[in-house]
Amino acid sequence: MRRFFIYLFMHIKLVILLVFILINQKSSAQNIQIVKFDALKQCIYNKSDTVYVVNFFASWCKPCIQEMPEFLSFAIGIKNSKIKLVFVSVDFKKEQEKLLQIVQKFSLQNVYLLDETNANNWINKIDKKWSGAIPATLIVKKGKHNKFIADVISSQTLFKLIK
């Protein structure tokens, strides 16, 4: 045991570096969670009192990025409430860097990157009328599909919809 501590002390620089890398990795991982559709479904369709507002977007989608300020002001309005704002990115997994830039730029919370190649398998499970065009926003209440808007949305409309 003593030897171990001596060894540790000798390599203190290395240890600090390792801890630093670990912390850094953790914080970037907290920003974006890469999930399969079924895992995402479990996150948003749970039967708690929380209302989920789920925005489908991508870093390459111009209208999606243009409407981000609307979601940010909505986020301020729902602070300390049982409403949770979730962002689901359909960015290409290979191009995560671009997504990360957007996440950092708008300080987005609760961001999921959907790790699916064939959208035909999951789009209908969000809403049967959805063609797959983004942006789109889903509202889930008590674990059930409540509303779906396949278009850009304003913070005012968002506040109305969750009432």
Partner: protein
Amino acid sequence: MKTIKSLSIIWIVLSVICTNAFAQKNNKDIVDFKLKNVDGNFVSLSDYPYAKGFIIVFTCNHCPFAKLYPPRLNDLNNKFKPLGVPLIAISSTDTMMYEEDTYPNMVTKANEEHFNFPYLFDEMQEVAKNFKAQKTPHAYVIWKENNQWVVKYNGAIDDNGMEPEKVTESFVSNAVNELLTSQRVKTSETKSIGCQIAFRRK
């Protein structure tokens, strides 16, 4: 004898109801159009009197999902045009929103990617509205029935945009093959992620 008669009447009524139900579900008539191609000429469906059907793809320059498909569109046209099913690409994006999608940029794109099919500019967005196209890329297979164009398939081109080598289902290709062999289109609608075609408000 009477029972046979009444049975046959019921049979006829039932079959009429069934065909109508089918007609309502899938068959949406398409109005012919006349749009400017990247070569400067105007293109209509009626310019192809030999065509049994068409692959119509709503696409554009700017959309990252649409950008994945040009080689595959060339392949589809190479494969099916000789069989009487040419491919036509149409760009209906609002050019006020996307500079990249203006007509001169469409010309450049078609040259750069060696498009072997017409790339038409739907400036008024009327054709996209007629098809109810909602995003790029959004593919349709239309077929000539009683001198009318009927939608037989709409949706994704195939099931893997990013990795063409990992495609397991070529939806458009399958639909055309089924139609060419007088079969029912098994998968008549699919979904995929794409860039919204934002319709200008009048």
